[in-house]
Every structure is written in C-alpha cells, then in structure tokens.
Amino acid sequence: MKQVEKVNSKLANTVSPFWNGVFHIIFILYSLACIIPLLLVIGVSFTDENTIVTLGYNFIPKVFSLEAYKWVFQSGDAILRAYGLSIVITIIGTLCSVAIIAMFAYVISRKDFRYRNTFSFIVFFTMIFNGGLVPWYMVYTNLLHINDTPAAYIIPALVNAWYVMIMRTFFQTNVPDSIIESAKIDGAGEFRTFVQIVLPLAKPGLATIALFQTLQFWNDWYLPLMLIENSKLYNLQYILYKTLTAIQYLAQASNVTGGTAQILAKLPSETARMAMCVLAIGPIILAYPFFQKYFVKGLTVGAVKG
C-alpha cells in the first residue's frame, strides 16, 4: 500500500499525502496565530465591562454587551472627530502623493530627458542617507512651523523614494516611447500627453502606489507623535496610542461633564478602547481582498530593479 502511494506521489511529482497533511497543519496553526489575537480584541470589545474587570480579557464574551460601541458613538466626540480626520487625511494625502510621485517618476522615466539621471539620483540618495530625526524635527517645528496643523500629517509622507523608483520602472516598461512620440507629433503638449495617454496606461502601477500610501496614511501615528500637540487634531491611531498608555485619556476625550474620576467610573474604559481598536482595523478588513491582490502585485514589481 505504502509502496503504491510512494509511486503515485512520484508520478504526480508532489509530496506524499502524509507530508501534504503536515504542511496543511503547519499553515492552519500559523494562520490561526495571525487571526486569533484580532479575535481576542473583537471579543473583548463586545463584553460587558464588569465581566472584564473580574475575569480578564477573553475571546468569547461571557456577558455580551454593546455598551462600548454605544459609548464611542454617543460620548466619544473626540473619537469620532479623529475618525473623520483620519478619513480626510487618508484621501487627500493619497491623492496628492500619487499625483506628485507619478509626475516626477514619469519625467525621470523619459529617455529623451537629458537630466533624468541627475534627478533620479536626487531621489535615490534619500534612500541611502538621511539626516536623522533631530534636524528633520527642527525643520518642521522651528523653520516651517507646520506642527499642529493638518499639513503635518501629509507633507512629510508625500514622497517616498522607493515608490518613485517602482513607478519609474513601471512607466519605462509599460509606456512605449513611440506612443509619447506620436502624441507629440499630433501636437499634444507634454502635460496633456501625460494625463490623457500615459496615466491610463499606468493604472495598475498607480493603484499599487495608491494602496501603499492609503495604508501609510491610515496607519500613521508617528507624525502626530512627533508634530501634533493640539488634541483637536489627533487622528484615530494617535488617540488609540494615547489610550494605550493612559486609559484616563478616554475620559478627556469624552464630552461627559464632571471630574475625570467621575467620568472614569461611568466609562466602559477597558472595552471602549478595544472597540476603538476594532473601528480602526475595520476599514482595512473590509478592503482587505482588494488590498492584498494589489500588494502582492506591487511587491513583485518592486522586486524588479528600480
């Protein structure tokens, strides 16, 4: 019997059913390890606050409750504002960033542009040397003074050298010179050629960059940590960070009047912060199939030399 199996698997050129089973088990365990921590947070967010205090965090709510979500939507003014801010910044940031990256990458992808190597190097050099945190921080807070403005969320993240390189490669391989040439002969200006002819050809590349940047803006908490002090300008990730280090922060973020201690007593603090966490991942989970497809594509494009 075993002999037959061995022969069979050799003919099909696959591993034996035994090893196939072992590999499946490894993957099932690892996939669970990737998903389970998320289920814990979701479970906690739907549990009654008092149950958490006595029994601790658990996957399955012993006493089911929607209090945490109710609180977030009714009293968590600051949280909803932060949610809105995150959405607006993600949209504006991604659009601006993709436009800026695409324009630059297109120019340095043009073989008839004499200074393409010089300008490629200007971008590229930022990948191998950087001035470090202190001067960077000084430029924004002591020279441009954009700290504590919404621009602080966007400007520092607009251009990413790696994406410029990916986009340049994409233009070089997917937009034939002859098309640009013929558009020129037909009398189209440079910018019109770019918008009406080049960009439509580069849609898959643009989509990949856009997704990378959407994720960057949505998940960003580093820029507010560095540059935002005004609590009215916190985005969702940063409020989450604040609540992780000090649960009292939730009391400040609520619109219930009274002393901090009073509010804290009424507040489902343990479950509310987990509910916020779920709300922060929500959009990503919803867009996940879409995301994943383009990411895999983008990564394999990125593996090609920029």
């Binding site: 698997s9 050799k10 696959t14 090893w19 196939n20 590999f23 499946h24 490894i26 993957f27 099932i28 690892y30 996939s31 990737c34 921590p37 998320l38 814990l40 947070v41 205090v53 601790g56 965090y57 658990n58 996957f59 800026i100 990256i101 324009m103 630059f104 200007i122 971008v123 930022t126 191998i128 950087n130 001035g131 470090g132 945190l133 202190v134 001067p135 960077w136 921080y137 000084m138 020279l143 441009l144 003074h145 400007i155 520092p156 607009l158 251009v159 440079e190 770019f194 908490w221 992780l244 280090t245 987990m274 922060a280 991942i281 996940y288 199939p289 994943q292 895999v296 030399k305 920029g306």
Partner: protein, 332 residues
C-alpha cells in the same frame, strides 16, 4: 570602407550640437517637465535635504533663541565633538548599539529561514484555493498599524486583564503569585519582540519568495522526476539552490540597514516602559526619548548622526557586495 573615421566625427558633432546648450536651455525647452517635477523636488528638499544639512547641529551646543532655525543655528556655538563624547561616555551608547544590532541580526536570520520555509511548503501543498487563504491570513498582520499590534500584545500580556495571565496560565496550573509581570521584566522582551516582528512581517517577506519559486522553470522538476528524485530531494537540489541568490541579496540589503530599527515595534509595543529599556531601547527610540522627553538636542543629534553615518557606510558596503554578485539586483 574609408568613411568610418569621418562618419564618427560627424555623428559626434551632431551629438555635440544637440547637447551644446546648457541647463537653462533645457529648462526652457522642457519647461513643462520641470514644472511636473517641482512638487516632489520641494518635498524632497524640505523633508530630506534640509535635514541632511542639519546634521551639523550635532557639532553645536544647540539652543533655541527664536522661531527661526537658521538664526538658532547661527547663534548656537560650535562645540566640535563634545556631544559625541558625552554620548559615548554614557552606558546607553553601548546598550542601544548592542540592542539594535542583535535584534536586527535575529530578525534577519530567523526571518529568512521562516519566510523561505513557508514559501517552499506553500508551493508544495495541494489545493490552490486553500493556499490563497493561508497566504491572505499570513499577510493580515502586515496591514495593522503598530498601535493595533500593541493592543493585541497588550490584550494578551496585560498583568491585570491579559488573556495569558488571567485565563491561559491559571488554566495550565500556574498559581496566582507565580504569574510573570510581562511589562516589568525586561528579560522576556527579546523573545516577545522577535516573535511579534516575525509575526508581522513573515507574510510580507514570503511573497517575494513565492513569486521567485513560481518563476522556476518546471522542466527542472520534470527532468528530476523522470530520474526518480523524490520531491524533498528536488526541493533540496533545485528549489533551494535556485532561491539562494535572491536570499543572499535580500539578506545583504537587510544587513545594510542593521543600524535602523522599526520605531513602532520598540516604542509602541513595549509601551515605552522604562523598566524594559535594558533590552528594548534601540537607537531610534533613544534618539526620540532624548529629543522629546529629555529635551537634550545635543545628545539626540549626536546619536542620530552616529546612526546615519554607520548606516550610510553599511549600505554602501553591502551594495558593493551585492553588485559583485548580481549587478541587476544592486541598488546602485
């Protein structure tokens, strides 16, 4: 064929006449192209090139005099290498260098082994749909922000309510006073941080290797099967050797970045708890703490420049080696 030398001259002259005009001529001719580059150039100037010039702050006793950086810079006095002497005389300098390098070493070695292993067995399992599902769930952690990851870790390890201390360990028979204080015991964090890092990035790193395996010519395997080689033998003798160049190159490129670490992992997942600094403080978090919590611009900029400088040298070196192996894969 006596024409060659004059022909070459002609071509050369023609080429010269194309390029005889300077930068200003190009600027005028390709005005639109330059305008298209302008926004990105402005951002790069602000975000990257001004800070590069700003590394000189490390050689100054930087003091705030007003709201203008240039004025502050000019008014602050030069102190030469004093900031670096201060920095290297603290025990922190050794601790953060050691932590940064050791963590990165662990991430590189384990990350390589695990992602190649997963990529290979993913290729071997039968059932294309289910393998897509595995890949999707492995990729999931990559999409979460470090803050969300910190919540997941906290939900598991919190001393008051955490799942491990409240449910898992008691169920395994641990008594209440033998439960570990996760956020107070620095000796556990090298393991926690390594696991968290691998957990977050394995799915992502796996993708490149999966793509590389998919690109291997199937004829190798067919020929091997005809010769009676088992599948495991084929993995050892075909798949792994063909993946080796990619492994070497990705590893070298990662080695070029060993002086940098993921700020979110070391800052947010540890909740920046001081009791854990011994094993969790890395150069990036040290610079942040020195700048924002201790307001020590000198120390922070010295440590930052130390990182930038070592990083730069390492990138150049590793890229040089990559170029020797495979010029196609080199960064430059």
């Amino acid at each position: 064929m006596a024409t060659t030398s004059t022909d070459i001259k002609k071509v050369r002259n023609a080429r010269k006449s194309i390029y005889k005009h300077g930068f200003l001529y190009e600027l005028k001719k390709n005005k639109v192209l330059f305008i298209m580059m302008l926004p990105a150039l402005v951002v790069l100037f602000i975000n990257n090139y001004l800070p590069m010039a700003g590394v000189l702050i490390a050689f100054k006793n930087f003091k705030y005099h007003g709201r203008n950086l240039f004025e502050n810079f000019a008014k602050s006095e030069w102190v030469g290498l004093e900031n670096f002497e201060f920095f290297t005389s603290t025990p922190d300098a050794f601790i953060i260098t050691r932590n940064t390098l050791l963590y990165n070493l662990a991430f590189i070695v384990l990350g390589l082994i695990i992602s190649v292993f997963f990529a290979i067995i993913l290729n071997e399992i039968r059932g294309k749909f289910i393998s897509k599902f595995y890949q999707a769930s492995m990729f999931l952690p990559y999409f979460m922000s470090w803050i969300v990851v910190s919540y997941l870790v906290f939900a598991l390890l919190s001393e008051e309510q955490g799942f491990v201390n409240k449910s898992l360990l008691p169920a395994l028979g641990f008594s209440a006073d033998s439960l570990p204080a996760w956020y107070g015991d620095s000796s556990k964090w090298p393991f926690i941080l390594t696991i968290v890092n691998l957990w977050k990035f394995t799915g992502y790193n796996c993708v490149v290797y999966v793509a590389a395996i998919a690109g291997i010519d199937q004829e190798f395997y067919e020929a091997a099967t005809v010769d009676g080689a088992s599948r495991f033998y084929q993995i050892r003798k075909i798949t792994i050797p063909l993946l080796t160049p990619l492994m070497v190159i990705l590893t070298l490129l990662a080695v070029g970045r060993v002086f940098y670490s993921d700020f979110g992992l070391f800052f947010s997942v540890t909740r920046n708890v001081g009791a854990l600094y011994d094993t969790t403080l890395v150069i990036d978090t040290y610079v942040y703490n020195a700048l924002r919590n201790m307001n020590d611009v000198g120390m922070a900029s010295a440590a930052g420049l130390y990182q930038s400088f070592c990083g730069f040298i390492l990138v150049l070196t590793s890229n040089l080696i990559v170029r020797k192996i495979d010029p196609e894969k080199a960064l430059f």
